[in-house]
Amino acid sequence: MSLERRKRGHLLGLLGAPTLFLLVFFFGPLLIMLVYAFLTPGLYGGVDWVFSHLNFGRILGWANTRYETFDPVYIAIFLRSLRLAGLTVLSSLLICYPAAFWISRMRPGLRAFAIFLVTLPFFVSLIVRLFAWVLILRPTGFLNQALMGAGLTSTPVEFLYTDFAVILGMTYVFIPFMFLPLYGAIEKLDMAQIEASFDLGATRWQTFRKVVLPATMPGIVGGSVITFIPALGNFIVPSVLGGAKVLMIGNLIEQQFLSARNWPFGSALAMLVMAAVLVLLLAQTRLARAKT
């Protein structure tokens, strides 16, 4: 057997099983979901294998039959999810950027330890981290006790079950997602360039805007994208910290599958989330390509 053919055999041996596995159990389900989004929901849960575009019509505006009617609330919930995810990205960017800068200027040994400290909570169970915020934000919680103790308010402030709680919760659980790409970009900053900028008489702010910010932009974009995506479709955070009041698209999808039992409509909603994610990723790659 020639060397070339033997190599080919090795390659197939490595690729074969995992490729098959992912084709069947990753791409297969996504494909079936796509099909479901165009099927008719059965009257008692389940699904009729009849083509229908009304699942999208209910969301986007053209459905007006007896069972399937357009309701602007779905678009409103989707827009609300986009807004909450956007605000989450913004707050976590503002929180993480200075922190990443701080750590990138440490001694190497200390730096590794600091990164370890920042990423460690990522491994702490999500549900535990959210529970911690319930303890802090609830009416009898830590924050209200502190505020009332300081005499800032006489009655407990309603923090829990608000947009604020959801944004705070998502910011908190996605910190490593934002921090690591930012840190990666900031660590690579060329100190000589910054010094040159100062030498040429630029102020701190000018140096930040003209040198530091453009150089770290890939980290900002990368961190924002991978924070935005899980925030957009999230339904655990709003269901723990948002109560019934803060409904996001993820909660709506979950309802279609577990209480309303309208799988085709739930699939259509999921396609909407997927479409938003794909648009975002395409924009990111275009942006990156335009740069180089």
Partner: protein
Amino acid sequence: MSLRRLLSLYGLLFLAFVYAPILLVVIYSFNANTLNMMIWDGFTLDWYRQIFGMKTDLADNATYVDSTRQLYGAVRTSLIVALSTSVLSTVFGTALALAVARYRFRLAPMYRALMMLPMIMPDIVLGIALLIFFITIGMNLSMLTIIIGQSTFLVSYVFVTVSARLAQSDPGLEEASADLGASPAQTFRKITLPTIAPGILCGWLLAFIISMDDLVITYFIAGTGNTTLPIHIWGMLRRGIKPEINAIATLMLLFTLLIAAIGLYLRSRRQT
């Protein structure tokens, strides 16, 4: 105050923001106050005793025997799932990473791009897609469906971790080994495997921890009777905030820290 000092001060505040909530849970787990769990009323281990089904002074002790059994069941399910999932995805992820990094073939760039997909796919989308898939092909929801479902995205995590390690290692070493007459199997065992072993181990630990913690995807494909630990706790949370959740959370924290410490220890050993 200089900018540098200000930055350090901010950094400490940042770390406080990251750790204070978690520490709070640990502290409250020792709170003896049974009426209002948010007001400190002395130290107790009762909540831990309760989790382990031991006798406590708490009034409704009897009701906890049942919940303890459920908790143990959830822990057992989570461990079985996490072990199987992490092994499966480590084998698949490592194989793919090796193929893409060490062989030249036309589809390699496509693999590299597509392997990102499972990681960035919103988990709720993957969760419902898997649910529809399993129901449509007539597969009963069980521990097996959880293992398959979680592996679909954990393969990617291992792939990325091992690929990073492969990118750092020098392919010249492998070429040299082949030039010196080593068989591909020998080269793999003596050169490739030792260099990427830390990456494989990290990928495995990562997959294990993420699997233990996965809530969304598991939630959709677990079916009834296969409650994992995160789903169990989520259910408890939805029925009301109870003090023993603090104790369970603290134990989970301890477990996670233990695994992270093992990972770090192994990494430090590799460097020396």
